[in-house]
């Protein structure tokens, strides 16, 4: 089976996520873009798993999902606290620490 198409798609998804993290202002959207990057790796893992004919990649994809869920728990808690304190979820507003 030719997996090139899947790898290219995962590369595109990863790039979209990466560009999103760098350009978007809202912390929640930035966070969603990180999740997109993780899902792009899931796609690549599963595609490579198919190519190599072993299950390592598919098992890894499950672990990535679990880790992503754990990251959501921690991340949303942190974003929530910041939002309640500052009434804003913009990552540009958090700028007390610099230089």
């Amino acid at each position: 089976m030719n997996i090139t198409a899947y790898i290219v798609l995962s590369g595109i998804l990863f790039t979209i996520g990466c560009v999103g993290v760098l350009t978007r202002r809202n912390a929640i959207v930035v966070f969603m873009c990180v999740e997109l990057m993780l899902n792009a790796s899931n796609l690549a893992l599963v595609a490579f798993s198919r190519q190599h004919g072993n299950l390592d990649g598919q098992v890894a994809a499950f672990f990535v999902m679990v880790v992503a869920a754990a990251e959501v728990v921690v991340g949303l808690a942190i974003i929530m606290t910041i939002f309640r304190t500052r009434r804003s979820a913009s990552v540009d507003d958090a700028s007390l620490l610099k230089y």
Binding site: I7, S10, F14, G17, C18, V21, A27, V30, F31, V34, M37, L38, A40, S41, A44, L45, A47, F48, S49, Q51, H52, N54, D56, G57, V59, A60, F63, V64, V67, A70, E71, V74, G75, A77, I78, I79, T81, I82, R84, T85, R86, V91, A94, S95, L96, L97, K98, Y99
Partner: protein, 532 residues
Amino acid sequence: MNFVKPTIEYSQLWPLLVIFAVACIGVLVEAFVPRALRFRVQTVLAAAGLLVALAGTIWVATDLDVLGDGVARGSVDVEGTIVIDGPTVFFWGILLVFALGGVLLFAERQLEGGVSAFAGQAAALPGTEAEREASTRGLEHTEVYPLLMFAVGGMLLFPAANDLLTLFVALEVLSLPLYLLCGLARRRRLLSQEAALKYFMLGAFSSGFFIYGVALTYGFAGSMGFSEINEAVRNDVGNQTLLLLGLGMVSVGLLFKVGAAPFHSWTPDVYQGAPTPVTAFMAAGTKIAAFGAILRLYYVAFGSDRWSWQPMLWVIAILTMVVGAVLAVVQTDMKRMLAYSSVAHTGFLLTGVLGVQQASELSDGQVTSLQAVLFYLTTYGFAMIGAFAVVTLVRDSGGEATTFARWQGLGRRSPLIAGLFAFFLLSMAGIPLTAGFVGKWAVFTVALSAGAWPVVIAAILCSIIAVFFYVRVIVLMFFLDGDSSGGEVATVTKPSVLTSATILVGVAATLVLGIVPGPVLDLAANAGQFVR
């Protein structure tokens, strides 16, 4: 399809499992033990867990199997996912010692007048009635101890991981609790929350790179295991582009964790904003664990592909040292200055990573680069924890006073504390008769014997710049008059025995390792090499 029961070597792994068990029990304690008792129960539990794990690590270290030619000792456990070998137990030992220091600093309550350095109620908004009520009732978050233990568990797993998936899971287990701990400061909560947000966002971004790199490396090698990857690299099967991209992206994730330039920008913000006990623990622990992972990944999995990663590390090491040393010069905040100095130390450590790996290529009595880095990490950890512990003591009416202006003339008001701080700074600068000197000597000589002289020259120049900013702080403390600045000056608050013990152990270790480094160098040499 047949399922084969995996074999798990509990006799080797139990120190790691003790830490995770204590963390889980800590969560249960939060649910079932009355609030008044929690502080005592949690601290005793955490300290006891760390001591048991430390004893266990020494126990495991004394009867590692000797393999083949005798340079490597240890075994590959849990179906090839975890390696317990000489370097692993050395990393475990120093990590557990520094985690113990972290617990002592976390448990310090005398400095804030009966409460810990952590927010009374993290959910209460800063400056509101709810926050004042939490503070008058003397509430505190004892959840920090289970969080600390989870982070320690992840740190122990990180240098022991022998496949990319375990490495990824360990990376997250060590990072996620730290993100939360950074946001829990009692004072200056806006800074603390901002530090947590920045650390989390950038950390999640870098772990996205890491896992995509893992996927590409898996695509190249067809396996996650380090030895299989090494096999694939050596036999040159698969697509070289996948290997190079994968190696690069995995490196981004790991270099972010150690704070190497150009992935260092989180370090000063997070070190400054986080509660100082967390900074102390994180500065020592994360760096040690991540260097363990870097060494094993580069030497074992990509060992046959040295010529791909070595030029990259040359550039990054030089860049990191220059950025760390130059930017530290212009800082006016003590925690930020120490953060940039820790970036510079990352560069010196990377210089050590570039050294000679095989003992057979060296003359007798010379250390390999793994051993030099192990020794450097030990000296670095003691100095960092000690220095940040001193920072927690220097206070004014608003809590910890970290700006340089407040530290003026501290040497005249409290010669002892200022003297100890100066000693830590001298060790970080690498002045002879301190541990830092021996550490620097070790990493520079291994890099020289591997022919990395441009990096060593850059390292020596950066060490000279570093001496400048460390000495500037010493001049500030001892030779400038505090009253002339006009503003409020900081004084030293008397700590309880917990912080004092941490500082004293740090000073003693820094002094002893500087004068008689032999025993610890021998210990690092006995750690031998990675089991492949």
